[in-house]
């Protein structure tokens, strides 16, 4: 075996470029897998940490459903409930923080706590100063990092505006970044419960009550007891496990997509390895024949090629792990910048490293198995004849390779949770499997389309390079198996780019459609805390303003279920032509809202709740219960916590639900007035109530930017697969050149110049690239549309819209990538010595 290992090593060393390209392909695949595993593990740990920080040691939480909060009677009932050991009331409210020379330090969530009770539920760690106590009514605790960034320390006085007036509080302590100090991304301040209630004019209400149960009391028992005793106002019961689950659900799409792209990187890597080792066998057919003639057994020949594959795999996996650490850090930085998925410090999961290396080595050796067996089956006579048999039809190599990739996908996806130490992405496994199945199906079907695709793809090249295109076109179908393997790898990378583009386009269009439909104006004014309704008059007085309409999202109890709602001025919507009615007359519906006793529901909620035109629904109000009639159904509405919001007129919002203030104002500018100019003029007025003014274009742009960052990350991972595919094209074209040495010789002898030979190889690559791009676009659109349909939820209904710029870019990318990959093989072909070529055997 020692002599065989030296042969294996020397064979790799003598074809340095090809060995390095192949190892690079493996490395890239392993790096993407490891980076995805590490990022996934990081997200999981961050979610766990965030959930722990948020709920502490609480077993259950009672959360206020309405703006008015939980009353003192509810708190007393909770404390008296069976199984409750500790009930810690908490008030939370958003406001601005100010110091004398710096009026705007940013938003903070002011959290009022009972210090003696809350320390039994949450762990606070001080880095400086002292904790809150009974006599610290005018004191505040701030997160250390937030305070230091703003030059605030113990002793600084900070002013907080609120509905009950302003409060200037002294900083008595700074908190370490752990536990409740990490809530709301570390933008939180802690004061006494009474201080918060006074500041925000909340009376004796609480935003929520955190519960610890007595030993032996189960969560189910406690929930049943609470449901019996809490009858004062609507509330939600939250299990602490629900908090982590909700976070995981929001990150599920991201995690399942990174998992999918990692699997695809390995899928493409398998093509590369198979191609490379097949080439190696074909090139060394004489050497193999000699070894067999000299007495080497077929087992030894198999072992020789598997050893070569293993050496490449080890080299590739080692480089891949190193690269994976760097790639993971880059991915983490990018993910954090989007702010959409929680991610703290990135772990280096040992199990993840083992899985990434294991998968990389498995794919390498498994992809090498068939070429190795082929090599072992070569007889000395066959070696002397040295003619590769013509292959036709569906190549068994392709079936073998697809079988390997399917097994890898199933094993990898199944082992993923072990490697990441977390749960499977909630409902997220179906999508990767569906996408993978679609890719495999297109790969299997591609040999059938190779001939016609090659002819079609050859047409544009034939118009420019008639001679070279005619000669190049036939090469595509000469070895269908090899062409399909190469095409397949390119197709996969481009398919993912197009699929991601389709998803991004759908998400963008959904966002824009929502904006256009539900915002009756050109500007949006957002308040940190609710402001009086008559503030609209101050905004309307600004030059260039035609109309200001207040909006107020809130929650209602409808037929015993929590439903999101938004209070609107129906007249403003009628005037602006906003809202797309799909059932009911616009005028009649908005008129009914204006008069009261009616709601307009979005289609998603109508389906979810089984509502139709004319349905009468019972809602819990301050006075008891009322009935509202469904006056219309619209396509879209404001997104809420549980789904899209139902529209309620301000008359009902005031009379039934006691709302007197708004958190959003939609501003319609006068004809001829530029929204940006009006926005600038409005800034001073809006600043009085610490409100922010945005043009609708700014909101759309911010949405677009956020989506662009998320999808940009996925595009980068898909490009990694494309790079691996490009390495495969280099190998394939080099092999094609090698096999056609004599043909190239006769072409040169017949009078084709070196440049002509170079062009022929490059055109061949261009045809391959164009064919792969067409297949990739078809597959990508199919995957994108399927994924969009699978992604539709009550609150997210993206339209199906083809991303034509991305499709065009994929076409150009496919051709350009392939032609770039042809540079080296074309040089080799053009440099062929005629005499040696015509005598090549």
């Amino acid at each position: 075996m020692r002599s065989l290992s030296s042969i294996a090593w020397r064979s790799l060393a003598s074809r340095r470029l090809r060995s390095l390209l192949t190892a690079a392909g493996i490395a890239l695949g392993v790096a993407v897998v490891f980076a995805a595993l590490a990022t996934d593990r990081g997200v999981d740990e961050s979610i766990e940490r965030a959930a722990r920080d948020q709920v502490g040691r609480a077993d259950l939480r009672v959360v206020a459903f309405e703006e008015g909060g939980l009353s003192a009677a509810t708190l007393a009932a909770v404390r008296a409930s069976e199984g409750v050991a500790v009930a810690s009331p908490v008030v939370e409210h958003v406001t601005f923080a100010q110091v004398p020379d710096r009026p705007d330090l940013g938003l903070l969530v002011v959290t009022g706590i009972d210090p003696e009770l809350d320390v039994q539920v949450h762990d606070y760690r001080l880095t400086a100063g002292v904790f809150l106590g009974r006599d610290t009514a005018e004191s505040v605790l701030l997160p250390d990092e937030w305070a230091r960034e703003r030059g605030i320390g113990v002793g600084t006085e900070v002013t907080f505006p609120g509905a009950g007036g302003e409060a200037t509080l002294r900083v008595i302590g700074l908190l370490a970044a752990s536990g409740p100090a990490r809530a709301h991304d570390g933008q939180v301040a802690f004061v006494l419960l009474g201080t918060a209630r006074s500041l925000f004019a909340l009376g004796d209400a609480s935003s929520r009550i955190d519960l610890r149960l007595t030993d032996g009391t189960t969560v189910e028992t406690a929930e049943q007891a609470l449901e019996q005793s809490l009858r004062y106002e609507p509330y939600l019961l939250e299990r602490t496990s629900d908090v982590a689950a909700a976070m995981r659900a929001s990150a599920a799409d991201f995690r399942s997509t990174t998992l999918l792209l990692a699997a695809i990187a390995l899928f493409v890597g398998g093509f590369l390895i198979y191609n490379t080792l097949s080439m190696s066998v074909a090139e060394r057919i004489h050497e193999i024949g000699l070894l067999r003639a000299a007495g080497a057994t077929s087992g030894q020949i198999t072992g020789l090629f598997l050893l070569e594959a293993l050496l490449l795999g080890i080299l590739g996996c080692a480089a891949g792990l190193l690269g994976g650490v760097g790639l993971a850090q880059a991915m983490a930085t990018w993910v954090r910048s989007t702010g959409s998925v929680p991610l703290d410090a990135l772990p280096i999961p040992p199990a993840g490293a083992v899985l990434a290396v294991g998968l990389g080595l498995f794919v390498t050796v498994a992809a090498a198995l068939r070429p190795a067996r082929r090599a072992a089956g070569i007889t000395p006579i066959e070696a002397l004849r040295s003619r590769s048999p013509q292959r036709s039809g569906f190549d068994p190599r392709l079936r073998w390779l697809i079988a390997i990739d399917v097994v890898v996908a199933i094993v990898g996806i199944t082992l993923w949770p072990i490697a990441t130490g977390g749960d499977q992405p909630a409902g997220g496994l179906a999508r990767p499997y569906v996408v993978f199945a679609l890719l495999v199906a297109v790969a299997i079907a591609s040999p059938l389309f190779l001939g016609p695709l090659g002819r079609i793809a050859g047409l544009p090249f034939g118009a420019l390079f008639r001679v070279e295109a005619r000669l190049a076109r036939g090469t595509l179908v000469r070895d269908r198996g090899r062409a399909t393997l190469t095409l397949g790898a390119l197709m996969v990378g481009l398919a993912m780019i197009v699929a991601i583009g389709t998803l991004a386009q759908g998400a963008r269009r959904a966002g824009l459609a929502w904006l256009e439909s539900v915002v009756p104006g050109d500007l949006v004014v957002r308040a940190v805390a609710p402001v009086p309704l008559d503030f609209a008059d101050d905004l309307a007085a600004v030059d260039g303003v035609a109309r200001v309409t207040p909006l107020r999202p809130f929650d209602i109890d409808m037929e015993g279920r929590g439903v999101d709602a938004v209070a609107i001025e129906p007249g403003a919507y009628d005037e602006a032509g906003a809202l797309d009615f799909i059932a009911g007359d616009r005028g009649a519906a908005l008129g009914a809202l204006e008069r009261g006793g009616a709601i307009v529901v979005p289609e998603s909620e109508a389906t979810r709740l089984g509502l139709a035109m004319g349905t009468r629904v019972r809602v819990r109000t301050g006075a008891g219960e009322s009935e509202l009639e469904v006056a219309g159904i619209v396509a879209r509405s404001f997104p809420g916590r549980a789904g899209e919001a139902v529209f309620v007129g301000w008359r009902d919002a005031r009379d039934l639900f006691g709302l007197r203030d708004a958190t959003l104002f939609a501003v319609r500018t006068s004809a001829g007035a530029a929204p940006a100019t009006v926005r600038a003029a409005m800034a001073d007025v809006a600043g009085l109530y610490a409100m922010q003014v945005f043009t609708v274009e700014q909101v759309a742009a911010a949405l677009d930017d956020q989506l662009g960052r998320i999808f940009g990350l996925f595009d980068a991972l898909a490009l990694a697969a494309l790079v691996v595919a490009t390495l495969g094209i280099v190998n394939t074209l080099t092999m094609n050149v090698y096999e056609r040495v004599r043909e190239i010789g006769i072409l040169r002898a017949t009078g084709m110049t070196r440049r002509g030979v170079w062009r022929m190889v490059v055109v061949e690559a261009g045809i391959l690239g164009l064919a792969g791009a067409v297949l990739g676009i078809v597959a990508g659109v199919a995957i994108g549309v399927t994924t969009l349909l699978l992604s539709r939820t009550a609150a997210f209904q993206p339209p199906l819209d083809l991303p034509w710029p991305v499709i065009g870019a994929a076409l150009v990318l496919g051709v350009a990538t392939a032609m770039l990959a042809a540079y080296y093989p074309a040089r080799v072909a053009a440099g062929t010595t005629i005499v040696r070529a015509v005598r090549h055997q």
Binding site: R478, E743, L747, A749, V838, Q841
Partner: protein, 266 residues
């Protein structure tokens, strides 16, 4: 096979015609690792238009090297090659390629057909490479004519792997002849064929010389093949040891050549 046409008398040499390809003190040295191999040592010869000459000799004698240099497939280390009145040794690669395209045709031992092209497309390859449309009326007629002449009518749409060895070599010969080049160079054209197929190819080469006044330069180690030539140059150790004039003959038995070689002690 068609009847051979009438010839001049035995051992009669063709009247002197214009030189179509020639060598002037041609030499070629190859570098193999640290050593040098002199494949050709100062060869001078002339081939007239319409002549059929053969280079014969043992393996490694330099006969193929001489053919490659005369055909512009390789460059000499010193000396000059004259092809259709033009010195070619110092032409640029592109100019040499164009000259080869216009003036020469090649037939090699291993056929060297393009497997993805049909017979007609393989024969039309020189037109394609020269930027001429093989499907134009004029060119298509030339292709059809040479295929008929080589008894390949009916095989136009076949691919090379559907033909026998002899048929493939005839297609290669058709490709070499279709543009009516100044010279056709054939390097061991029968080396990969059985006796019957090989004889057929040689007969076709001879007929092209007689009927189309095609100049043929043949390299062979086989006396039976060399016996088709008007003149035979015996090459050994990179030099022309002997020139044997056989003349244009009706019969191509190898005995006269073998006897002559024996007389010369070769």
């Amino acid at each position: 096979m068609s009847e051979p046409l009438a010839r001049r008398g035995p051992a009669a040499r063709l009247p002197a015609m214009v030189e179509i390809v020639g060598a002037r003190e041609l030499a070629k040295t190859y570098r193999l690792g640290n050593s040098e191999v002199q494949a050709l040592r100062g060869v001078t010869l002339e081939v007239a238009g319409g002549e059929f000459v053969a280079f014969m000799g043992p393996s490694g004698s330099g006969k193929s090297t001489l053919l490659h240099l005369l055909g512009g497939l390789d460059r000499p280390s010193s000396g000059e090659v004259i092809l259709d009145g033009q010195a070619i040794s110092h032409l640029s690669d592109d100019d040499l390629t164009r000259l080869r395209r216009d003036k020469t045709g090649f037939v090699f031992q291993f056929f060297n057909l393009i497997p993805t092209l049909t017979v007609a497309e393989n024969v039309g390859l020189p037109f394609l490479v020269a930027g001429r449309d093989p499907r134009s009326a004029e060119n298509a007629a030339e292709i059809a004519a040479v295929l008929e002449w080589l008894e390949l009518t009916g095989k136009e749409r076949h691919r090379p792997d559907e033909l026998s060895g002899g048929e493939q070599q005839r297609v290669a010969l058709a490709r070499a002849l279709v543009m009516r080049p100044a010279v056709v160079f054939a390097d061991e054209p029968t080396g990969n064929l059985d006796f019957t197929s090989g004889t057929e190819v040689l007969e076709h080469l001879f007929r092209s010389c007689v009927q189309r006044e095609q100049t043929i330069v043949l390299v062979t180690h086989d006396a039976k093949a060399a016996a088709y030539a008007d003149r035979v140059f015996f090459v050994q150790d990179g030099r022309i040891l002997e020139e044997i004039v056989l003349g244009r003959r009706e019969e191509h038995g190898a005995k006269p050549l073998i006897d002559r070689l024996a007389q010369l002690g070769l």
